[in-house]
Amino acid sequence: MSGAGRLPCPCGAGGGAPFRGNRPKDMFELIGIPPQALFGQLLLGLINGAFYALLSLGLSVIFGLLNVINFTHGAQYMLGAFAAWGLLSYAGLSYWPALILAPIAVAIVGLAIERLFLRRLYGYDHLYGLLLTFGIATILEGVFRQRYGSSGLPYPIPGLLSGGHNLGFMFLPNYRAWVVVVSLAVCLATWFLIERTRLGSYLRAATENAPLVQAFGINVPRMITLTYAFGVGLAGLAGAMAAPIYQVSPLMGSNLIIVVFAVVVIGGMGSIMGSILTGFGLGIIEGFTKVFYPEASNTVVFVIMAIVLLIKPAGLFGQTR
């Protein structure tokens, strides 16, 4: 992000900073790191990957079934975190009910967005949906920033999950382990729902040929509305789960959404399993980058995206449409 390269800065290689690269000896011996620390980073990567997977899953469901590139996803993730915070601060409801209620609240917002705005754009190019959802995201984030500021609000880790375990190679906070487990469960359940159940088959059929499915007596518009609400609800769930880890901040989604889009593109637009696997996989790759070359950890995902697009434009798991 430092764009002031033309000015004297002590950050250049061999520059004034005497301690750059002088890392602790017991951590960095040969080319890399001892296996123990490697496990730690692997686990951390999985944790971040859990958020990527959950968010890219929602995006993927929405794109796969509605053909809408939902740029509001980051703002909806932020809404989920704020809903959890609001439930705690105003209604005194703890994390556990919030985990159910926050996604529902966000899904209702999604429902309204779909009914009021998105619906009108289905006949047009993707770009219109993208611009609309981007605009809504900007407005939502602006309103929350105006009201709550950029530093964010604190949300405590639920008592039941505070503390952690020393695994020998790292200290794993209980809450982070919980995030991975929930995310995996939700991702797999969603995959199962869409790929392996009757309801899922209706959904997939409706995306292929909506008039035909409608002719069989299925209310396609309602199904689409609910699908959007579900995808958005997943973002809300991710937000509620993120609240105890990050500050509940109006900007939390905008920082994440671009990476998540890259994940979806790498996995293949609309591929459910692709999003899940890529989400976790890229989380791990990013985690390792944070050790080997931390400066590149916020760009590594995009480098991979560029390579994948060159070799397999439809994404790793995608089909050309």
């Binding site: 992000m1 430092s2 002031a4 000015l7 002590p10 900073a17 602790p24 906070p173 985690g287 931390p294």
Partner: protein, 409 residues
């Protein structure tokens, strides 16, 4: 009759003479308005400590000055540089070239401030810095018309770094925001730690901004350094401190050094997570009646979001006030003359006591070493800091000869 005509001609001549008098004879205000451009982070990570609060502080200063200087109106405009040097320089150039802006104010985010410093220097416009921290702004990248008003990385480093080494924190590991500011802060702190007899075990450069610091914190934990120096700011610092608690870093015996922490950050974190942090500040809203009075007025504006001003925002108020006073005294808003007058006049207000401006643009003022109170110690809203010690001006800032500013002969 003839005499009357001559008299009239004489009056007319005097009138013309006055109207076309050369510069310096009468008060000169370019464009008949003194225009201040507050260039800040209005929407990103630093917008709570600077942002619209800084814009409001500048407007308060203009209003308190009477809204006019040398009989000409004072106008305050603002823009969002989005923490991007290219965006910031674009706005600065447009302001100066097309909109007649006389001075650029605040500019948090050192990478942007370094770019604006070049432009204001080249175009001879006053640059009143309250937000940016990098000590390079009064060192290698100094400017004859750039004034770094509130604080800098050297002051933060020597205040907090020096104090912690004295308390036994003699081995350090840095988590550094990977841009101009983070590197300057890390460099200055490393020097302070070494000078105090400590050692630096390593560092990790975290991309700016980051949300998840787990990996960096684990690297810091593994280094077994006694102190983990957070050479970052805003949301990055908040998330680092919050997540350090999760990984049991402080309970494991390591200490966190928040090198740049504002009251707005403490407010966002809550005292439970922030308590015990030793920090260096330029001001606290609760130091005396004058600071409290200013905070009360500031908090009445919606831009404050109900939180007392950060020292950057308070700094914007006092630097703008001093600038306007200097215009009044100099009789012109021409940059070189105004800056000369600003150096000449002592700075005395609710925030700065007997302050002076050095040739490299550094404002010499007292700084304060403070500790964040525990929830039990805090008696009323925003009662966050106890001042441990006043750092005298000559100790607080880098000696003039060490900065490498070309203006120092």
């Amino acid at each position: 009759m003839k005499a009357t005509i001559l008299k009239l001609l004489g009056v007319a001549a005097v009138g013309f003479g006055l109207a076309f008098a050369p510069h310096g004879v009468r008060a000169q205000v370019s464009g008949n308005v003194v225009k201040l451009g507050v260039l800040s982070d209005l929407s990103g990570t630093y917008s709570d400590t600077t942002g619209n609060g800084s814009v409001r502080a500048a407007k308060m200063a203009a209003a308190d000055f009477g809204g006019k200087v040398l009989g000409k109106p004072i106008e305050v405009i603002s823009a969002d540089h989005q923490n991007q040097p290219d965006v910031g320089s674009g706005i600065a150039r447009r302001w100066i070239d097309e909109e007649g802006v006389d001075t650029i104010v605040d500019v948090p985010t050192s990478s942007v401030a370094l770019a604006v410093q070049q432009i204001t220097k080249e175009k001879n416009r006053v640059f009143l810095m309250s937000g940016p921290a990098s000590s390079d702004l009064t060192g290698k990248a100094c400017s004859p018309v750039g004034i770094q008003w509130t604080y800098d990385t050297y002051a933060l480093a020597h205040g907090t770094g020096g104090a912690l080494v004295k308390q036994g924190g003699d081995s350090w590991f840095f988590i550094t925001a990977d841009y101009a500011f983070g590197h300057a802060l890390e460099r200055d702190t490393s020097e302070a730690v070494l000078a105090a007899g400590g050692k630096v075990l390593g560092n990790v450069n975290a991309p700016f901004p980051s949300a998840d610091f787990s990996s960096f914190l684990l690297q810091a934990q593994a280094s077994k350094a006694k102190v983990i120096g957070l050479a970052n700011a805003g949301a990055d610092t908040i998330n680092s401190i919050k997540q350090a608690e999760e990984y049991g870093i402080v309970s494991g015996g390591q200490r966190l050094a928040g090198l740049l922490v504002f009251n707005t950050d403490i407010h966002a974190l809550g005292l439970q997570a922030a308590q015990g942090l030793v920090i260096t500040v330029a001001y606290d809203w609760d130091m005396n009646d004058a600071t409290r009075a200013f905070a009360k007025r500031f908090m009445a504006f919606p831009e404050s979001k109900g939180v007392p001003p950060s020292y950057i925002q308070a700094g914007v108020y006092t630097e703008v006030t001093h600038y306007l006073r200097a215009i009044q005294a100099a009789g012109t808003d021409e940059a070189t003359a105004v800056v000369a007058k600003m150096r000449e006049m002592p700075i005395n207000d609710f925030m700065v006591k007997n302050g002076t401006i050095r040739i490299d643009g550094r404002v010499m003022r007292e700084m304060y070493l403070a500790q964040v109170k525990s929830p039990a110690e805090s008696k009323y809203p925003f009662d966050y800091l106890k001042i441990l010690q006043t750092i005298p001006r000559d100790e607080a800032f880098r000696p003039l000869k060490d900065g490498g500013c070309y203006l120092v002969k």
